[in-house]
Each structure stands twice: as C-alpha cells, then as structure tokens.
Symmetry: C2
Subunit: 408 residues, 2 copies
C-alpha cells in the first residue's frame, strides 16, 4: 500500500527529505505496511498546489516564511490532508489559527523540525511529559549563534571574525540577522512555550536580545569565572503569569547547557515530577531537518507502534575494537620500555601517548593506546604481566573518544 | 469517563505513582476526556490478581523481578488489558515471549520506566527515530554507579567510601551488587539493543564488568589526562553483527556523556541521518519512575494527541528576576566602590562577588550580582552610568545558575 506525500518546496531540506524518504521507504514499509512516496512537488517554477494536495494523503510544507506557507497549510488541512512542517515563522505568528484549523479538519499537524534541529523537544513535551507540570524550559535553539560563541571562546576570535568563519563553513547565512539578533530563537521559544504551558504566545510578544554586541572580552571574563556564554531562550511560569525571552547569558559550569558547544542545540525541561530532562544534538542542517520531517511523516502515517517489530536474529560480536589506557609499574632500568613496546607491536597495539614517571628505583608508565581488537590487547597485556621487571599487575581501562567533532 | 488502572505492587514507586495519578487526574481528563483512576491494587498481603485484572482497562506492573511478574504480565495481556511496566529484569530475560504475547492479544505494552530513569530513550528510539538506521547507543544507565564514580572524582574518596556514602544517601541498596557489578546496566542495554536493532538479545548474552575494582588512582590518572571515568553500556552494529556490553571507560572531555555527573543517566544515540542525539536526566527515583509510568499510561489511554490543546490566555510577565554579571571601568580612586555599592543597595541589588583590577590610573570592577528584578538592576546601572568617575559604559550579562544540584 502506498502513502502519498505531497511536497511543497524543494530547497536544501526538501531535496534531502526526498532522498531520505526514498532510501528508507523499504524499511518503513516492512515496519508498518505502508510505503511512503513523493506523489507531487510544488516549487516556485513547477507544479500546481491544488493538484499536489488532491493527489496526496499528507502534505509536507518546506517553503518557509509566512506567506504563501500559511495559506498552503490551511488549504491542505481544509482538504482533509495531514500536514508536517518545519516552518517556525508561520507557527510562531499564526499558531492559534493553524492549530484550530487542524482541529476543525480532524487532521494531524506535526512540526518537530521547526524547533531544535534533531532534538525531539516537541515530542518529549507533548508525549513524554503530557501529564507533567512544566515549570521552565531553557534552550539553546539556534545553532548559528552557538557556533559563533563557541568559536569566540575556543580561539579568542572577535564576533566579526567568528561570524565570517561561520558564514564560510555554511553555519550562517549571508544575511545572518535573523539568527544573530535572537529573532530565530524567539520564534522557536514561542512555539515551545505554547506547547509547554498551553497559552497563546505570538513571536511579537517575545523580547529578544542578540549576540552582535558581545566582545571577546566578555568571553574572556566568563572563562575566568568558570562560566560559559550562550544565547539562551527561557520560557517559564512565574507568580504573575509566564515569561518567554531570549538573551545572552553566562552559565555556571554544572548547568546542563554549559557544555553544549559548536552548532549544537539543546533544551532543558524542568518539572517537579522529573526534576529535569536535557536533550541535545546537532542544530538544523539539511539532512538533520529532513530526518525530523520524516519522523513526523511516519508518526502521522500510523499511531506509533507500541511494540517492537518481531526480532531478527543477528550474530553477537564478542571481540570488539577499543582504545585503552594502560598503567604499568616497572623497575626503572634501561630496555624496559623497549620490551613493552615490542610486545605491543607484535600484537598490533599502537601507542598514542606514553608518560613515564620515576618512583625511586621503580617507574610508572601511563599509556593511551589506539583502538585495537580487545583479544589482541589482552594477549599483549598477558605477555607483559609475565615480564620479570613488572612490579604489580598491569591495570587498564577502555577509552571512548568523542563521537562527533563539534567544531572544525 | 473513567479509565481503570490496576496496580500490581505498592512499594516506593507504586505509592509515588498512585499519588501522582491522583494529583494529575483532573489535568489528564481535561486534555483527553478520560479520567484515570486506580481501580484495584495487588500487594503481597492484599488483593486478588484475577479481580484486579478483571476490573481494569490497563495493568501497571511494579512488582519487579522475574516471577511472578512475568506470569502477571502475560495473564493481564491474555485478558486483553494493556500493560505498563518498569521491570527491566523480566523484559531483558523474556522479551520475545512478552512482545509476542502483546502482539497476539492486540494490546499495548509500554516500558519507558524500565530504562534510563526519566530519560525518554524508549520513546525517542521507537518514535522519533522510527525510520533512522541506528548505528550505536552509548549509555550511562545506572545512577548508583555514576554517583559513586562522580563522588570518587569529586572528593578523591575510595570506592568503599563512596559506596558507603551512596548507601547513606539512598542512591545504593544495602546489597549493591546488581548495580556495581554492571548487571543492572546490562539488562537495560539488552532492552535498548532489542529496540534499536530489532534483534533478540537476552541479558545472558551481554558481557558486563562492574566498578568494584576501580581505585582512586584510576580516577586521578583520568583527571590528569582530561578524561572522565564512567560505567558505559554500548550497543552497536559492527561488520560481523552487533555487540552489546557494559564496562568502565574513560571518556574524552568533549564526549557528550563525559559531563554527566551525580546520579544522572544519559544516552547518546548515533545514526547517520541525525549524527547523534543525547538525552540526560536524573536516574530512577520513586517520583521520577512514577512520572515515566504515568506518561506511558497516558500514551496507552489514547494515541498521543497531535495537536496542542486550545490555548488559555495568561499574562506575560515582562519584568523577571535574573542574576547578573556587571563589568565597570572606573577611575582608580578612593570611594568609588562605596558609591557603586550604595546605588546597588538602594535598588536592592546584592553583590555575590567582586574583583577589582588596576589598569594604571583606572580600574576594572567585575561583579556577580544575586538574582534581582531586572527593572531594579537596570535602574541601578542607569544611575551608575552617570557617575563622573566612569570610564566607559557599564556592560552586563545575565547569569544562569545550575538548575539542579547533581551531587550533595
């Protein structure tokens, strides 16, 4: 069975979404019995809106901006089609009209990709925390500004230098004003606040400050004080009502958002029942946004399966590759390191770094080893343990490297 | 309309769940039109299993352990009831039998609370990443061991001292062996691997190492090298199949799990389309687990609403409380700090710390101020800016403190 997806807009995200949909269609069909396919496309130069809508079960809106996106979203819903959108501008300025139209038409409206890059903040607020009383959401919801501030921190660059670098690497637009002014983050915080608190919030009501006025000095002071400088969006309940705002802030080192670097996004949700949950991941890029859109399409195709699909047996690998830290206590005499290095080399264990420290007649070797099959490493350690100059049993711990290089 | 919840087990989590359910019932009823209520309870000393099941629409299993929990879960499903469970032991050892029984009976089975404390790892893998190809999951999924390792790092305590402290504070059981041996984490990783890869995995097949043998020395070396020591669970696809395992590991500072301290849990999910998502939050305590159970109950009551509920207007607060960093450049002469302090005091702005640095004839004051209404702070800054000894305009940045004290 085919599930027809009408696509409005085919820019970077639209193209990535088409590609990802095609790649994953067989897996989706195997899991839920329907195969999604692009049934029509509308771009500035081709396609007809009414035809695309008529030929689809669900419409994906990736045009961006307020008009004609608003008109298209309302039109698709009026025609009884589900809508998935990544459009923060229209949702932050016309939320009540759009939510009400979806309710009236009895169709689904999903918009995970409008907020937070790959971070599933909408789903977590809406489903995991459906019954929770949310007190506050703090978010780093703009990857461009987080990249610029991270670069200023890392290299001591000025705002202008870091912005130029972000533009060169594709993290910032030629006209970066939506991002650096805080307006993009304000739109996302308006959408989050609407969901978290159930109150109508328009982008116009969210005060925002940007990062253009920040200097390398500010960052240097932050470092001195053990603080990180971030562009933070806050939505919180206060005694007299609620507050939603965006502003640069220093964060203490132990705050869960303090260590979010590069172009990453992250959101911390606070609620008495759960204390807090933090979600983090890369900010919006074409493939990441496309993945969030596809997740929404699948959720709209069918209520989420509540059971894992039947299991498929696969071999369990027992000998895996790891990096290791190795700690040896040895007699301090010539030739010791050479013998150890020879044994490691014979087992194809390669040394990344080694520090030797004298301890009277003895010495301590602290080594970090490059990734190697565990069986080889353990064979080497077994041989080393039997060397007559060893003063105690070798000790080792596996080492995990960064999964992802956050900044170039 | 009433939605009847049968409760099996009323220990710490069961009692917290009953309380939370009662507290949130009106909100849930307002949102989805059904009011959940506890329709029957089975404990060791009271209640009858068949009666509890017959009188309920959904059964919450909080007994723990394999038997009779397995028998009760299968019995409830055979009677056509949805099941929500927090039981990692039974799911990691009888997953295929239980999943198959749920599928055969056409009922929902939900188990967010069995893994990862409040961190919604099951929902994110199962729904957000439904179409993603997951390559690897790294997790810190045992709060007890993370607390012990964090304390050893923070204070230099030995393993035995940190364990004793964890027991005193209620983070570790009197018999801590399930936690410190890595077995609890192994059960959780088996459940995660089953979901992420769709392959049958039994707890027996997951090799695990614990933290009992780690010394304060290991932690000291880790610190020297800029590494953090964590008990890590890994589930990953490899060339020859998959690998699931639990082991202590050093993490480089930039790894998203490296900064997860105290009794927190966190999971990093890697997939080509999204790069990675990290989810973190407090490990399982009674209220946290109860909140995860309630989230599952609500999801089972009704497919998740895809639309925000109608909005309720609430006042937007425009003058909020913040802490501030204030940077002043002033002439270096007597009485300057006193005048500034007087103005701050008149506006009820209280100083947390101040550093004064000489710059020839001038001086720089760097102050961190306690939380205060922004209007008061800005009034004070306006007055300070007009003082004749000021050498440049005052600069300020808001300061955000830790949201949650991770370790006592």
């Amino acid at each position: 069975m085919t599930f027809r997806v009408g696509l409005l807009g085919r820019g970077t995200v639209g193209a990535a979404f088409s590609e990802l949909l095609e790649e994953r269609a067989p897996t989706i069909e195997a899991a839920i019995g329907q195969r999604p396919e692009i049934s029509g496309v509308l771009t500035r130069s081709e396609g007809d809106f009414d035809e695309v809508v008529a030929g689809s079960d669900l419409v994906v809106e990736l045009i961006g901006g307020v008009e004609p996106a608003r008109e298209y979203i309302l039109g698709a819903m009026a025609a009884g089609k589900h809508v998935v959108t990544a459009n923060k501008a229209v949702l932050s300025q016309h939320s009540e009209e759009i939510y009400e139209a979806a309710r009236a038409a009895g169709v689904q409206l999903r918009f995970e990709a409008a907020v937070g890059g790959v971070v599933p903040v909408i789903r977590v607020i809406h489903e995991t925390l459906a019954a929770a009383h949310i007190d506050r959401v703090h978010g780093i919801v703009n990857g461009t500004t987080n990249f610029i501030l991270s670069e200023m921190t890392r290299t001591g660059a000025s705002y202008d230098e870091a912005l130029a670098e972000a533009q060169e690497l594709g993290y910032a637009e030629a006209d970066p004003s939506e991002d650096v002014s805080g307006r993009d983050a304000a739109a996302k915080m308006a959408i989050i606040a609407r969901l978290a608190f159930g109150v109508p919030i328009n982008l116009d009501e969210v005060p925002y400050e940007g990062i253009e006025h920040l200097t390398a000095d500010d960052i240097a002071y932050a470092k001195e004080l053990g603080l990180s400088l971030k562009l933070v969006g806050t939505a919180e309940r206060l005694d007299g009502g609620i507050s939603v705002r965006v502003y640069p802030a220093f964060l203490y080192g132990a705050h869960p958002l303090a260590s979010v670097g590069g172009s990453f996004n992250a959101v911390t949700i606070e609620s008495p029942a759960i204390t807090e949950i933090t979600l983090s991941g890369p900010g919006a890029g074409g493939p990441q946004t496309a993945s969030a859109v596809l997740g929404d399409v699948i959720s709209a195709m069918i209520p989420p399966p509540t059971l894992p699909a039947p299991a498929v047996p696969q071999p369990l690998v027992t000998d895996v590759v790891s990096a290791f830290y190795l700690h040896l206590e040895v007699a301090d005499r010539p030739g010791v390191l050479a013998q150890i290095a020879e044994i490691l080399g014979l087992q194809e264990v390669s040394v990344k770094s080694v520090v030797q420290k004298g301890l009277g007649d003895d010495a301590r070797l602290e080594m970090v080893l490059h990734p190697v099959l565990e069986s080889k490493f353990k064979a080497a350690v077994g041989l080393i343990a039997r060397l007559e100059f060893m003063r105690s049993a070798p000790r080792f711990v596996r080492v995990i490297e960064e999964t992802f290089e956050e900044s170039p």
